[in-house]
Symmetry: C2
């Protein structure tokens, strides 16, 4: 139970499973016992993050704190949240736990800076876009962040809700023209800044992985790094 | 957090994610909040189940109880274990929790009986086969359970460990001739009685789903059933 990773999930459940799958795939392991220990809470009655930010409806914060406490009580030493929009409350969540927390936004922006990208596109929920969650982070590094038009953003959000409603193909067909237009207009890469997007665009990512920065993937790679740095410290201390 | 499902996982981690994915796919849901609440513990330092049963090496029981307590303390009301071999200790585990537990063996054998199958093949770990975990259950219903020859069983086990070592393609190529021979010899269906097998034979299952009984799938369908029966009871009581 060395350096247990806690996953505050359910936002949505499919994205939680995707994060776990990516954690497994990014771990060098030759048998069950080599894998990174994790605990995932996927209790999806957390109020809609986008609706809260845009319409001031019920806040997800209280439930997120409650479910984060489950992870902490179970012994999680590092907590991650595979939901970009939920990071609107990241600093507030940090105040409520003694565990380390890795931000999906920081992890993704670090990848953008490391790749020396200067002109990036952003696909994310309308709340993530309007709250400038990504833009505030990368503008400090003088990286231009290209966001969809209002009409396109409406389609992005429709695609995300369509995926959540169980229709992956329709979600893909709604989103595809938006990402095509952004790539044709010359952005170097597109940030998949909502954890449903790597699932909606799975086929495209396999064909042209160089066009995308998958935020879930960035978060997981940072988490694996944290684990090995931390597990090593524990061994030295023992 | 109504009727929280606890998943005692990590045996292996890939099978845990497969079970979660199947729980999501088997839930009628149109938004995040419609999904079944779950908590999954995937701490894979649990000693190898097969080695313990066959070679009397370290027992996994103590760690399984410890991680089951995490689920119970988090509020899990129903606990499932996506690992067939671990069910060797199922009755003992049941003594250590107040939560309901659904057996993957019982769920799978119920499917076999419901389908009026009289001649079934079994692919599972050598420990599951030798401990008669499936045979004891279905022989009561006069169903004949066809198991691989000793040489074939060696290949099944090699395939499972190869998958766990990260080589899905090699695992498939080792296993394919064994399932081909069993189907050619006239078994009606093959029980995929190890939770890695639906992952190893993913392509085949998509092509000819009627040839297989996926134990993980049987467990999950029973779990979804439990959830809706239980959530309904809670509503009536409220």
């Amino acid at each position: 139970m060395n350096s247990l990773i806690g996953i505050l999930g359910g936002m949505g459940p499919g994205a939680t499973v995707d994060a776990m799958q990516k954690l497994i795939k990014n771990t060098p392991a030759y048998r069950d016992q080599d894998h990174i220990p994790m605990i995932a809470v996927s209790i999806p009655d957390i109020p809609d993050r986008t609706k809260c930010i845009l319409d001031h409806s019920a806040s997800p914060l209280e439930k997120m704190i409650q479910y984060m406490k489950i992870l902490e009580n179970a012994g999680a030493e590092c907590i991650i949240i595979p939901c970009n929009t939920a990071h609107y409350w990241f600093n507030e969540l940090k105040l409520h736990t003694h565990a380390e927390m890795i931000s999906i936004i920081d992890a993704t922006c670090e990848v953008i800076r490391d790749k020396k990208i200067t002109n990036v596109g952003l696909l994310a929920t309308t709340a993530t876009v309007k709250a400038n969650i990504y833009q505030d982070n990368i503008s400090k590094s003088h990286i231009y962040c290209h966001t969809p038009t209002a009409a396109e953003q409406h389609l992005v959000m429709e695609s995300i809700y369509t995926y959540k409603s169980g229709n992956a193909l329709a979600a893909h067909n709604i989103l595809a023209p938006v990402k095509d237009r952004m790539l044709q207009d010359g952005v170097e890469k597109i940030i998949l800044g909502c954890t449903e997007l790597p699932l909606i665009l799975e086929g495209e990512i396999q064909k042209t992985p160089e066009s995308y920065i998958d935020a879930t993937d960035a978060l997981i790679k940072k988490t694996v790094e944290w684990y090995f740095a931390h597990a090593h410290r524990n061994e030295v201390a023992a």
